[in-house]
């Protein structure tokens, strides 16, 4: 039997037993419902009727204007609602009270209450223009098709050479959210890894397992199984958040603006960062014999993670500052900081390479160190095993 198929069996058990666990299913369901609900609820509370632009008409009627306004709205990718008012004064009162955003009077005058939008002006102007010209051409005796050929607006393709600030913002925001998610996930999943390790030690099942497989296999299987669980969780949450944004019809949530490369890079750093810390958690977890003793021991990984999180915050403010820059090169913090700097566009290729290679080597070293501590500490029960003792007592 190949060592890796045993690792796969171990990972599968780890994943399935956790996914089938009732409390896990219940917690996940509640969280998903909460996330899906939050978008629509917030948008309703904030007055989600902003989406539809209301346009008022007053005074002399322009024939076919309503139709043309709708047609222009499609071109402008806006949703509008047209309302006719009996007189100019009534329309202006409605404008003042915010019931409508703009009013077209006599087909010759566009009135805003405050500010004014060039986009809306262009929309109304286009509509009036088309309506008036259609009218004139009809009088000249042109057929409908001929008129359409003349007045139909020409759709012009818009290309943006330089990405706008909004897109940069979206990327940087995504990288920052990624750092926070990584922070939360590592602390949670790391806790799972450490607790699982202690549990097996406490139940003594570890001796049954280790009579069949080697310590590194147990470690890699556990970390992989729990990592898959973490990815599944992330996918479910991301799906729920996307559904929530769709339900709320938030125009700000634009996955396309973040872009696949950024999402892929976040995923990559997530896997790398999780792997690095998960093996640390496993090693640390194996040194205690009871769940009650675990909390104190977990301070070590948390003390390492916390600076990474803080550096990510600094980097999102000032991605070129010295401290976050150095932090983004070093294994324990690169997974948090580097994605933020990459998204900000300041990371040089060599820096990214250093961060990736460093973290990968760090993770490999931790597999080795972790397995050794794990194998040395696993059969020692009662009290806490010192890291150094565990290292010396290692089997392989």
């Amino acid at each position: 039997m190949k060592p890796w198929s045993q690792v796969a069996l171990l990972a599968k058990r780890e994943f399935l037993e956790r996914v089938r666990n009732k409390p896990f299913i219940i917690t996940m369901s509640l969280l998903v419902v909460a996330i899906v609900a939050i978008g629509p609820v917030v948008s309703r509370l904030a007055g989600g009727d902003d989406e539809v632009t209301k346009i008022g008409l007053a005074g002399e009627e322009v024939p076919g204007i309503e139709q043309e306004l709708e047609a222009q709205a499609v071109l402008f990718e806006m949703e509008i609602d047209v309302e006719r008012f009996p007189s100019r004064s009534v329309a202006e009162t409605a404008l003042a009270e915010g019931e409508i955003e703009v009013v077209l009077i006599d087909g010759t005058e566009i009135t805003f209450h405050t500010g004014g939008s060039s986009r809306l002006t262009a929309l109304v102007q286009g509509a009036v223009d088309t309506a008036v010209k259609t009218e004139a051409l009809t009088e000249l005796g042109l057929s409908e098709n001929e008129i359409a050929a003349v007045v139909e607006p020409i759709a012009i393709e818009v290309t943006i050479l330089e990405e706008s600030d909004a897109q940069d913002e979206a990327k940087r925001g995504a990288a920052f959210v990624g750092a926070i998610l990584l922070y939360i996930s590592i602390i949670m999943l790391g806790q799972f890894v450490a607790m699982g390790t202690v549990e097996e030690k406490q139940n003594r099942v570890v001796e049954v397992i280790l009579s069949r497989v080697r310590p590194w296999q147990v470690l890699v299987g556990k970390v992989a199984g729990i990592g898959l669980l973490g990815l599944l969780q992330l996918a479910i949450f991301a799906g729920a958040a996307y559904a929530s944004a769709q339900l709320a019809d938030l125009p700000d949530v634009d996955v396309a603006a973040i872009g696949l490369p950024v999402i892929a890079s976040l995923l990559f750093w997530f896997v790398l960062g999780y792997t690095f810390y998960a093996f640390l958690y496993a090693a640390v977890g194996s040194t205690v014999s009871r769940q009650e003793d675990l909390q104190g021991t977990l301070m070590l990984p948390i003390m390492l993670i916390l600076p990474g999180y803080l550096l990510a915050i600094f980097a999102s403010e000032d991605p070129d500052a010295l401290v976050p820059t150095i932090g983004s090169w070093l294994p324990p913090w690169a997974p948090f900081v580097m994605p933020v700097r990459i998204a900000a566009g300041v990371a040089q290729p060599w820096e990214i390479l250093v961060a990736i290679v460093g973290t990968a080597l760090g993770a490999i070293a931790l597999v080795w160190i972790g397995s050794r501590v794990y194998s040395g500490a696993l059969l020692r029960t009662g009290g806490k095993v010192k890291l150094r003792e565990a290292w010396r007592a290692a089997v392989e």
Binding site: L9, E17, V205, L210, S211, V213
Partner: protein, 293 residues
């Protein structure tokens, strides 16, 4: 054939194994005996790579034991433990597959052993929900299901009721006659005497006695003498007699060259002799002699 060759292991100041060595022949059942802390569990753990000896090796059929060989071994550790919240059948299949069985093989083997061990209906129960005795049976099933060539069982009879003891003894005998090599430790010496053909006794890390039970008994220079004079405890008055305390007739351990005729004569002089037995020592006697208490 399983060979322990000159195993040495120290834990700090404690010598757990001191040039420990013995051989278990294929298809035989060996009782591995010794007082608490003598090194039994350490020796068993060495077989499974759970403890690395300071020196010495364990060989299976002539070659050193490694991960591949271990997959053909079954182990029931002294410290019982499985996943408490996992369904019995699921975890047995998991462990069998870790030992290299395919899904179908593992499934069949687990069902077979659940049936044999009287747990046929309990496969879907969580381990936690079973009685102590049944959990012990599941633990045994975890060792047996992968169809091992070698079984190493640390105190398999501890915690079983008399019927459980009997059926486990039967199961082990059947397995051995099918070619499985079995080593188990126990403190129940009468049981070992009934079940085992071979014994090894370890004391303070040294194997002080090992071999076929009959040979070991015959090789011993000690004899067990049971004398019952009119129901009264009567002890022969001679040098080198060691009295084994217990109810009923008096049991003594004497050397094999003890003057049996003289002893019988003096017993006759003391009263009516109801019983006078001069026989090879029992395993208990050998054990007591070997560990020197």
């Amino acid at each position: 054939m399983l060979e322990f060759i000159d195993l040495n292991k120290r834990f700090g100041d404690v010598i757990a194994l001191d040039d420990a060595g013995f051989v278990v022949e294929r298809g035989r059942i060996m009782g591995f005996l010794g007082p608490n802390g003598a090194g039994k569990t350490t020796a068993m753990r060495v077989v499974f790579g759970l403890i690395r000896p300071d020196s010495g090796t364990v060989r299976w059929n002539g070659s050193p034991v490694g991960p591949e060989e271990r997959l053909r071994f079954g182990y029931m550790p002294e410290e019982r433990g499985l996943y408490p919240k996992m369904k019995v059948r699921n975890q047995l299949v998991h462990f069998s597959r870790l030992s290299g069985l395919s899904k179908a093989e593992a499934s069949d083997a687990v069902d077979h052993w659940l049936g044999v061990l009287g747990l046929a209906g309990r496969g879907d129960a969580k381990l936690d929900d079973l009685s102590h005795g049944n959990q012990q049976r599941v633990q045994l099933a975890a060792a047996l299901a992968p169809d091992p060539e070698l079984l190493i069982l640390d105190e398999p009879f501890a915690g079983l009721d008399p019927i459980g003891v009997e059926s486990l003894a039967e199961t082990l005998t059947e397995l051995a006659s099918g070619g499985v090599t079995i080593v188990f430790s126990s403190h129940q010496l009468d049981l070992v005497e009934d079940v085992c053909e071979d014994v090894a006794i370890i004391n303070e890390g040294r194997v002080v006695l090992s071999g076929r039970l009959d040979d070991v008994k015959n090789r011993s220079r000690k004899r067990r003498l049971t004398i019952d004079v009119d129901g009264e405890p009567w002890v022969p008055d001679m040098q080198g007699v060691e009295v084994v305390n217990g109810p009923g007739p008096s049991h003594c351990i004497v050397n094999d060259d003890a003057p049996v005729a003289d002893l019988l004569a003096s017993a006759n002089a003391a009263g009516t002799v109801n019983r006078f037995v001069f026989e090879p020592p029992r395993l208990t006697d050998l054990f007591r002699e070997a560990v020197g208490s």
